[in-house]
């Protein structure tokens, strides 16, 4: 068992060999550690979604290869026997509520597990367990997925992927279009899965506050290339790097920088989260008092 997801010299062209050809990924080399929480950032159109779709062989690299566990994916990979890989890697797309289709919430959540050959007898407990994870009442099970609220639909769709019990969870902007409370809920859920079940998380997000607060590693993409891969701490300490790729600082660091600019003696590393910044400020004042 490999300890990493390995991208080796991956190129990807949309509509290869036609006049519409578009190079979306160029020579991507990336090793994402299994068990880590890795975020992918980069401005719109930089190739983030293209990259993660390869983890489920929804598209295949035009050149190069990807290794996940014992699976090796390249341009010659056939479309047969992909189920074990797709079960292992759960993909939550942007606006996942668009994928709901069944007559009832229960049926929709059971859809994935049944496709992957789960026992009919275990389904009920799995559905209940997933609903509990996304904190929806069990009574919602028999409702139609089209008569619940948008936020609830999103949770049902996520529950449908979690029910497949993936080992690697890939999320493409899961919080977009939700209210702050809903965003926080989703992020805490992902964090919990990572910590309690040791799930590998790959997150695409444009919200730097979220990325900085939760991730261990950060990948920056720009024009189809991976231009940086480092720990969140290192990436967000490097303001010029972020500026170069049109990315903003998390608000905690912006505020921290202003305090530093005003000669406040915060001498610790940049805070990844507002709570961290709060702690630093409290410490500074208590140091001042002594």
């Amino acid at each position: 068992m490999h300890k990493e997801i390995i991208f080796k010299n991956v190129d990807y062209y949309y509509q290869h060999d036609t006049p519409y050809e578009y190079k979306a990924l160029e020579n991507v080399n990336l090793n994402i550690p299994i068990g880590s929480f890795t975020s992918i950032i980069g401005k719109t159109g930089s190739g983030k979604s293209t990259l993660v779709q390869m983890l489920n062989v929804l598209i295949k690299p035009t050149n190069g290869s990807i290794e996940i566990d014992d699976f090796k994916i390249n341009s010659k990979t056939t479309n047969k026997n992909l189920k074990p890989l797709r079960k292992k890697v759960g993909l939550i797309f942007q606006f996942p509520e668009k994928q709901l289709f069944a007559d009832s919430v229960r049926e929709d959540i059971a859809f994935g597990p049944l496709n992957f050959g789960m026992d009919e007898s275990k389904i009920d407990s799995v559905v209940e367990e997933s609903l509990k994870l996304v904190q929806l009442p069990i009574s919602i099970m028999n409702k139609s997925p089209f008569e619940i609220s948008g936020g609830q639909m999103r949770r049902v769709a996520i529950a449908g992927v979690l029910a497949m019990k993936p080992e690697i969870l890939v999320l493409d902007e899961p919080t977009v279009g939700l209210d702050p409370k809903g965003q926080k809920f989703i992020m805490n859920l992902i964090h919990k899965l990572h910590v309690e079940q040791n799930m590998t998380i790959i997150l695409i997000s444009h919200q730097m506050d979220i990325v900085a607060s939760y991730s261990e590693n950060v990948v920056i993409m720009h024009n189809g290339k991976v231009v940086a891969f480092d720990t969140a701490q290192n990436i967000f300490s490097n303001e010029s790097l972020l500026n170069k790729y049109d990315l903003t600082l998390p608000s905690s660091i912006k505020f921290y920088n202003q305090l530093i600019a005003n000669q406040l003696p915060l001498n610790e590393s940049v805070p990844m989260h507002v709570n961290q910044l709060g702690d630093q400020i409290i410490k500074m004042f208590s140091r001042g008092r002594n």
């Binding site: 509509q15 290869h16 060999d17 036609t18 006049p19 519409y20 779709q53 489920n56 929804l58 189920k83 797709r86 079960k87 890697v89 759960g90 993909l91 797309f93 996942p96 668009k98 994928q99 709901l100 289709f101 069944a102 859809f111 994935g112 496709n115 992957f116 089209f146 449908g160 992927v161 497949m164």
Partner: protein, 264 residues
């Protein structure tokens, strides 16, 4: 599927791209009609020559074009084979059970094949070089005499252009829904017929939901901006009829006269 070009538009700036859309649509239909007048090799050669010139002037590469219409070849082959095996008459070369290959069968199969190629070439060329908006403009222009009998031509043209406008949106949507269901373990296009049809439900239900949502949102947005079907509308882009349009009309006309002259 990605390479399939039938019905697609490819932006460009060639002589063919810049012809007046109404005229281009009329010429294409005219061409399809004269295809049925051709009945010997010389007349077919003239038509192929016309196709060749049009394709050349459109600056679309021949290789790309041929590759793009390849998926239609199967359809053509089946029709040609039917013609080949089941048309009677003339000298019999080969016969087996109910199949016969006859000299007349061979000739009519060849003709059918050529007709197909000609019609596919010209209609693909029409959509490749004419944007959806221009097509709806052209249809509106062609139908405009019907306004006299109170036919809502403007509304029909608007409906066509909205429908065409949403084709790419819906294909994108279909791709993203298919991807989402694939990663939930659906095997599209695998297994027996029942299984295949069943695997379409998780695609079609969300697709319809989103199509209705688009329609609903669009109609609200149009009403909010004061759209009323009775109002007279102006065009953002107007198309004139220029020298090139007259020349190409002449060319097609002359070739059709030659075909009537040379046919048996």
């Amino acid at each position: 599927m990605e390479n399939f070009i039938f019905g697609r538009y490819m932006p460009g700036n060639s002589l063919v791209h810049n012809l007046n859309p109404a005229m281009k649509i009329l010429i294409s239909f005219y061409f399809i009609v004269i295809v049925f007048f051709a009945n010997n090799y010389l007349t077919y050669a003239l038509l192929f020559f016309l196709c060749f010139i049009s394709l050349y002037l459109s600056k679309i590469s021949f290789g790309f074009f041929l590759k793009g219409i390849r998926p239609l070849i199967l359809l053509i082959i089946i029709t040609v084979l039917l013609q080949l095996f089941f048309s009677a008459g003339g000298h019999i070369y080969f016969s087996f059970w109910i199949f016969k290959i006859t000299s007349l069968g061979l000739i009519s199969a060849a003709y059918i094949f050529m007709r197909f190629m000609l019609i596919i070439t010209i209609s693909t060329l029409l959509t490749l070089t004419t944007s959806p908006l221009a097509i709806s403009y052209g249809i509106e222009k062609i139908l405009s005499p019907l306004k006299k009998i109170h036919c809502p031509v403007d509304t029909i043209a608007l409906m066509i252009s909205i429908a065409l406008r949403f084709v790419p949106t819906l294909t994108d949507e279909a791709t993203s829904i298919m991807n989402a269901q694939r990663s939930r373990g659906v095997d599209f296009g695998n297994g027996n017929l029942v299984k295949r049809i069943k695997s379409l439900i998780p695609l079609l239900v969300p697709l319809f939901v989103s199509a209705f949502k688009h329609a609903d949102e669009l109609s609200v947005a149009m009403e909010a901006r004061g759209y009323s079907p009775e109002m007279k509308r102006t065009k953002f882009k107007s198309y004139l009829i220029g020298m090139n349009d007259y020349i190409s009309m002449m060319l097609f006309f002359v070739i059709s006269l030659m075909i009537i002259f040379f046919r048996n």
